[in-house]
Amino acid sequence: MASTFEKMMAVYEGREGAGIVFQPRIKHWWEVTLATGTLPERYQGMYLDEIYRDLEVTPREVWVPGVRGSAGYLSLQTREGDNVEVWVRQHRGPPDEGEPHNYITTEYRTPKGTIRQVERLTEHGASVYNVEYFLKDLKDIEVYKYVLQERSYEWDQRRYEWGKKRFGDIIPLRVNLQRSPLMWLIVGMMGFKRTVTMLWRHPRETEELLILLENEFYKMLEACKGKPIVELHFGDNMHQDMCSPPFFKKYVIPFYKRVMPKVHEMGMYATSHWDGFVKQLLPLVKETGLDGLECVTPLPQGDVTLEEMKEGMKGMFLRDGIPAVFMCPWTGLKTLEDHVRKLLKVFAPLLILGISDLTPANADIERIRFVNGIVKEFNESL
């Protein structure tokens, strides 16, 4: 019987017969149920890793900061330039019409000027979202260009060792990179509407910034060179309503066409996180050269059938595939079972099974055990 590590390597390498690994994200569920006092008694007092062990499923690295820190390796560290000061403060926000919320204000102070973003913590502090983006106009872009030019990345051996101790014998090392340049701007730096209007009104300046963002990846790849990394992950949050097919063709495919050969030269694999509606983008994904996709939510939560996913991703592997809503008590168990069996049939061996994209806070966690039973049965039949 292959180990979990071997099974996952078989997925990367496209080999058959090793068996399927079930690697659901449960950190968000754990954090929110802890915050709301609804964590089932069985899991009280357990670390996240212990819950994974109790459920007999494979732990999943998650880098998103939450109230209880991060999970995963975080081996790649960002170092800002000597003249770039980063000021962060957390504060109770203006109690306008509802409850006051916690906000995080971050400022980059540079000789070229200052840029600022304000994030708001979600209800239970398990995530944040932007209420103010760093880049609001051309002047901010100039400041950010300076930040990028001065920025470097380095491998953090100590954190890697920590991660290896925690996960290394079970799962191959995966390192998270930024979103690809267009999605980096849309989701992280500028917001969707402003990115669209800036590309429309100021194409030269905005496209110059996209080139600088791309250069950041070459710096990141340089820092990863020679390290024991198996998978590089682009946290794209791809969604066709933000990144339309024309945008995808103009900005995303060319980026990946330039980057992916370098990833493969380094002996690594790469994946991207697609957690929105993607029906119009899937027929284009092969052109990126990516090895696999994470999330890709099928119907009824997403907008694609399993067959459409398989067709679009021909030869690529899928991580996840169970719509999160199927983990909620109001979806019948038979619906969940039928879906999982079909998913295994359609995607194995190119599948690392998981929930698209995470276990909801109000999920019935015992469904993880239920799915695991189906996976075990499938693996035994191989």
Binding site: V32, E97, G98, T122, E123, Y129, F192, K193, V196, T197, L199, W200, H239, Q240, D241, M242, S244, P245, P246, F247, G276, F277, Q280, T297, P300, Q301, G302, D303, A324, V325, C328, W330, P360, A361, N362, A363
Partner: protein, 218 residues
């Protein structure tokens, strides 16, 4: 004058469909200078937006194009604003739209807002993470005919029946049609929540709302 007017209207429609802000502003001013009523100019722009909506439906345009068209029209309306005072506006159907409390996803909602606007609705967009009380208050104050609610997180679906109950309590449930959308909302859940309509996509949602208005007119 009629030929000249039609020529200007053509320019207005085309420049809007092609997101040419300067050409649109110029055409709007030209229309004003030729004595065309502000409301007629707005109608010509709405026709242009309608074409944009059709191109979106047909898969020729995508959300970025909707945004560009919306921005183009907004700038042209600013040019026209001084001439609009004193003119009576046309009858409009008001829709209140919001993403429910605890949820900050807004892309689907924003598409719905843009498409509803192009379909001739006056849209009050309350934004994201909106508490039930604020939604119901907006429905009452604006005499809304349609309430569009978006929810993406499974943890916030409970807001939907809660808002419906709040509408009942405030005595406005019978005067407003409620439509819901969002990836995790299913038709079954929508039915249980007691709403009037459910749509998988923003476009389908707008069609349902247009149907309600048509039936009401008939």
């Amino acid at each position: 004058m009629t030929d000249k007017k039609e020529e200007i209207f053509e320019e207005i429609r085309n420049s809007l469909v092609n997101f040419d802000v300067e050409a649109l502003k110029k055409a709007v001013l030209s229309a004003v200078q030729n004595g065309v009523a502000a409301q007629e100019i707005v109608d010509a722009m709405s026709e242009g937006m309608n074409t944009v909506g059709k191109k979106f439906e047909g898969g020729e345009y995508f959300v970025p194009e909707l945004i560009m068209a919306g921005e183009t029209m907004k700038e042209a309306l600013e040019v026209l604003r001084p001439y609009m005072e004193g003119e009576a506006g046309g009858e409009s159907r008001t829709a209140v739209v919001a993403t429910v409390a605890g949820d900050i996803h807004d892309i689907g909602k924003n598409i719905f807002v843009t498409l509803m606007t192009t379909a001739g609705f006056k849209v009050i967009d309350l934004g994201v993470d909106v508490p039930a009380e604020k939604i119901v208050k907006a429905v009452k104050e604006n005499h809304a005919k349609v309430l569009g609610l978006s929810a993406l997180l499974t943890t916030n679906l409970e807001q939907l029946p809660m808002i419906v109950n709040q509408l009942k309590k405030e005595g406005v449930r019978d005067v407003v049609k409620v439509i819901v959308g969002g990836a995790t909302v299913t038709e079954e859940f929508a039915k249980e929540a007691g709403v009037d309509g459910y749509a998988k996509t923003a476009l389908a949602g707008v069609e349902i709302c247009k149907g309600w208005v048509r039936r009401e007119k008939a």
